[in-house]
Symmetry: C2
Subunit: 208 residues, 2 copies
DNA sequence: GTCTATACATAGATAGAC
DNA sequence: GTCTATCTATGTATAGAC
């Protein structure tokens, strides 16, 4: 077991279930920290969130955090990656639908389904991007990458619908969602999201 | 002059030009602080901005800030008010245009004209709202009020165009702007804003 | 590997000289 | 009214016992 520790930046929990069984306290602490960070950063924002907040949410002692992450920034980066993975899984599932317009509408439905959470805390991706863009470290590029993948996926769907202006339509759709998420959050009104979502569904139908 | 100080929460500079002439150093420090705060908060965000940053930008000694504002929150609130005033002035000017659709398109043009600044720092109103919504103090309500006035103005224009779904359209337009501002900022690409702005202008034309 | 104690830096806020 | 010095709190990060 000791020979595994040569690379400190690649902690034990990457080797799946095995370590989760061998350790008495349910392991995967690194993943737990990253997962908790996703949630807490969404709720509180980056600057307001302390390492203690994340450690508490992950049920890990504060001082222990630095065994898994050298800095707060690295923990945030891991959270962004975890969030990116989550989004990718979602897109993969939507990919099972046959028609591209059905995929887009299913995406919209998913967003609408989260409208109460959005009213409380905004879009997880959007609020993170907004906040990280005010910083000089490279974290703003990390979240931009995640958003870029989402946008590219939307563009692919429009392209599959035979639209030559797929990029422009993708920006329009994604911007509408991001914008209404911001308004929903600012006015604490989930109905805004539901109404605008329905309008966007009709818009997608009108394109075919 | 001393009898004016009974209410400390209503500082001297509210009484216009007079004090600006009598004081050697060009006065209106309270306004200067609030104005500088608007700019710095837009560039750096609320949490990352220190009172020292604002004081420096306003060319006022740090310790002096507390003569004009009891807390950082009060300074931020003053900045929100100043920003709201600025927006109101802009809307008043747009009101001179005869046709409501021209007013809306002029608003869009104004936003597009700011696309480089938006790519750097995002929409001043939107980024502020996003960040303040993560806080428990009442500042999120203050910025919501400002955004509410803007949204109401847009709705009035659609209503003047004879649309019964003015509210829905206002949310759609404003959300599109806020969303594309976020994308423009995240991807550091002013062209996104220009393209989507042009699309929205065509959309407004199509409504008449 | 885990956890406590603590060093270190920074920012908000206050006291009080001028 | 203006400005400096400083108190106090908090948060990141490290040292080192276990």
């Amino acid at each position: 077991m000791t020979d595994l520790e040569r690379d400190h930046s690649e902690p034990p929990d990457c080797l799946s279930i095995v370590s989760q069984v061998t350790n008495s306290t349910r392991a995967g602490k690194r993943e737990r920290l990253a997962g908790a960070a996703v949630r807490v950063l969404h709720e509180q924002g980056v600057e307001k969130t302390t390492l203690a907040d994340i450690a508490r949410a992950a049920d890990v002692p504060v001082g222990n955090v630095y065994y898994y992450f050298k800095t707060k920034d690295q923990l945030i980066e891991a959270a962004i990656e975890a969030h990116g993975h989550h989004l990718q899984t979602m897109l993969d599932e939507l990919g099972r639908l046959a028609e591209p317009q059905d995929r887009l509408k299913a995406l919209l439905r998913g967003w609408i389904g989260e409208r109460d959470l959005t009213a409380q805390y905004g879009c997880p991706t959007g609020t993170l991007a907004s906040e990280l863009d005010k910083r000089d470290d490279g974290l703003d590029r990390a979240i931009a990458k995640v958003m870029g993948r989402l946008l590219a996926w939307v563009e692919e769907q429009f392209a599959a619908m035979g639209r030559t202006d797929a990029k422009e339509l993708a920006v329009a759709l994604f911007a509408s969602y991001q914008g209404v998420a911001l308004l929903t959050n600012t006015f604490r009104d989930p109905d805004l999201m539901a109404t605008e979502g329905a309008r966007l569904e009709r818009w997608i139908d009108s394109l075919t």
